[in-house]
Amino acid sequence: MPSQTRTLLERRYAALGVMLIAPTVVVFCSVIVYPLLSAIYLSFFSIFTPTLEGDFVGLGNYTELLQTEVFWSSLGTTLIWTVGTLTLQILFGVGMALVLHQNIWFRSLARSLILFPYFISTVVAVLVWKWLFNDLYGIMNHFLISIGFIDFPMDYLGTMPNALISVILVGAWKYFPFVVIAVLARLQTIPDALYEAAKIDGAGPIARFFDVTLPQLRDVLVVIILLRAIWDFKEFDLIFLLTGGGPLRDTQTLPLLVYQEAFALNDMGKASAYAVVMMAIMLVFMLIYIRRTRTEDGS
């Protein structure tokens, strides 16, 4: 009897477990697994986007994309954008977090305001920056001309390398508050005793930063870098709205290429192939992230 009762209980627990996890599984399958499998499936076809009708081409889309110059140039631009904007986000973010960690006036207000770029809509942010960059009325040109730095308005978004630099800078401005939030939270948990010990040992501010603060931030920075690398790699709206991928294809990243194939050239199959390749690249970042977080959990 006791063993039978346990079995029944176990069965009930098992059933309860299945019931509790079922919604998560259903949602996961609906929003992750199905679109993923659908994209992989579509990538084997040549499909006209508006009708979703087309022919099976096997690996044709993949062999074609690997041979096209536009894929490699877009991949290169994506990597430059990701590394460039991420580096600036980390530098600005850590720097600003250190400032906001000090006992400065209006610290609470400053901590709130610093989040502003991250919270406003990308469309609004881009409109504001396009206005600032405007060749005829933009304050950037007006200021630089007024101080005599330039004689003629600069073209920030229509020529290289200005366009790529501008996009990277705007991206850094938009997303560095994420780094500030995460780093600031970690800074507040570093024991004061470590700094006091370093001071007793004769460490100055710079030495304290490199010997105490930075090692303490290392774990959180690794996670931030991995997360932001994934998010920046697939960034679409900010670049699309600022330059549309131009001039020529000099700021065209892989997400913009996917968009153009799918909706301007109406080739959903090839767009899916690009998207699958993008996913494979991001998978590397994700695997590192998962391994990293598991290691942290284990330790």
Partner: protein, 446 residues
């Protein structure tokens, strides 16, 4: 002023009444099945959504809803640069709008060729086929003989806008007719802080569409009449050369210009010339009235007077997606859009920008009675005449077969890329033309 008043006086009461009668009769359309429907909501998409235009649409919607209880119309904005992806997504998901207006004719032809658009013959009949300007619907005739849509207006999108005061100051006697004259004029008018022209050099549809005009103004073409790719020709080479020469007379940011930036540059007074539709007039009135008395327009110059002018008309359309669940109601609403009161209010929302396609409306005293149409009667007349004989990539000339791939060619940016390669990068013209031709051929083959 005098001329317009004369035109208005020249319209007889009988003509005006006839026009009103014909167009008002459209309210009694044959799509009676829709009237039995209840709780229908029509989704209406348009990229033309300036506040005054939306206000006019709301008037049309409220009048239609009052006449058709049970049918609601919901207006949704799309954009000139964004409609193609939005519609592609809509078609593929099946969540289509019930009626779409103001998209270029070649987009409608492309959708119709893929079975995505409802034939429009009965709507044209309901509006009154005889009331259209001659040939106004030719651009919408599909390969199967049906009409895939109709024009909700005409537009002359590449008019050369001029400042008479600046011309006078620069000692320029007459409006330029040739490229040499245009170059000399913008050179003379360009001074510190004032640029010559706001030509677009961005990687976008405006650059493509405008540059196709330059190809034709040089006597070239993108396709032969039977749609063989013919981009690599002397006309295109001359157009590229001239477009490159004009770069120094354009603002530095023109490398990223599209419609909005180009329009604003002229209206704000930052450039001495402009290239746009008649929307310039309303914007000058509202945003920079100090130049309103000095603004005029002519057809865009060409390489020589031996070449005929070529006006870019995107033939703003009305069409109904075949997947719509409310086709009868949508057809009824489509016909109602041409009802005089609402249609005229819609045209007046952007006077000179969208020009009437119906003769009765053009002759209607209500239409003529508008401050901008009265003030700029010569310009509006010229635009109407130019637009009526206008073309676009889907309809390069009267001899050309309708090009169903025009939308994809514009969407691919292959033409604007060609411009950027030659003008901004200074790439070899032969190589750039060869690459562009190959890309277009692959799109045509696909």
């Amino acid at each position: 002023m005098t001329k317009t008043n004369d035109i208005a006086k020249g319209i007889s009461r009988r003509t005006a009444l006839k026009g009103l009668a014909v167009t008002t009769a459209m309210a009694a359309t044959p799509f009676t099945a829709a009237r039995a429907q209840s709780d229908v909501t029509l989704r209406w998409w348009s990229p033309q959504a300036a506040p005054a235009q939306v206000e006019a649409y709301q008037l049309q919607i409220s009048q239609f809803e009052a006449m058709n209880p049970g049918i609601k119309v919901q207006f949704e904005t799309t954009s000139d640069e964004g409609y193609a992806p939005q519609l592609a997504a809509a078609f593929s998901s099946g969540e289509v709008p019930d009626i779409v207006t103001h998209l270029p004719s070649f987009a409608v032809q492309s959708y119709y060729a893929n079975g995505l658009v409802e034939p429009f013959n009965d709507v044209i009949e309901a509006i009154g086929a005889d009331d259209y300007f001659p040939g106004a619907n030719d651009v919408f005739r599909a390969a199967d003989g049906n009409y895939c849509g109709t024009g909700i207006g005409n537009s002359a999108a590449n008019m050369l806008w001029l400042r008479k005061d600046l011309m006078q100051e620069a000692g320029i006697d007459g409006a330029p007719e040739t490229w040499d004259e245009l170059r000399a004029a913008v050179q003379a008018m360009q001074t510190g802080g004032l640029f010559g022209a706001p030509l677009p050099y961005g990687r976008n549809s405006m650059t493509s569409l405008i540059f196709i005009g330059f190809i034709h103004q040089a006597g070239g073409q993108v396709f032969t009449p039977d749609l063989e790719v013919a981009l690599d020709n002397d006309g295109t080479r001359n157009a590229l050369e001239f477009y490159r020469e004009m770069r120094e007379y354009c603002p530095p940011g023109a490398t990223n210009y599209s419609w909005g930036e180009s329009l604003t540059a002229f209206v704000s007074g930052a450039t001495a010339t402009g290239i746009y539709t008649g929307r310039v007039l309303a914007n000058v009135r509202d945003q920079n009235p100090s130049i309103a008395d000095h603004v005029t327009c002519v057809r865009y110059p060409r390489v020589s007077t031996d070449v005929a002018p070529w006006t870019f008309n995107d033939f703003p359309s009305v069409f109904i997606p075949a997947q719509s669940q409310n086709i009868d109601a949508a057809k009824q609403f489509a016909a109602f859009l041409f009802n005089p009161e609402g249609y005229i209010k819609q045209l007046h929302a952007a006077p000179g920008h969208v020009l009437p396609v119906l003769r009765s409306i053009n002759e209607n005293p209500m239409y003529q009675d508008n401050d901008i149409i009265l003030k700029y009667s010569a310009e509006v007349e010229l635009m109407a005449e130019s637009a009526a004989g206008g073309f676009n990539l889907g309809y390069e000339s009267a001899d050309h077969v309708s090009n169903e791939k025009a939308g994809e060619i514009i969407g691919s940016n292959v033409i604007s890329d060609l411009v950027q390669k030659v003008v901004i990068n200074g790439d070899n013209v032969d190589t750039a033309l060869s690459e562009a031709s190959q890309t277009i051929e692959s799109i045509m083959a696909g």
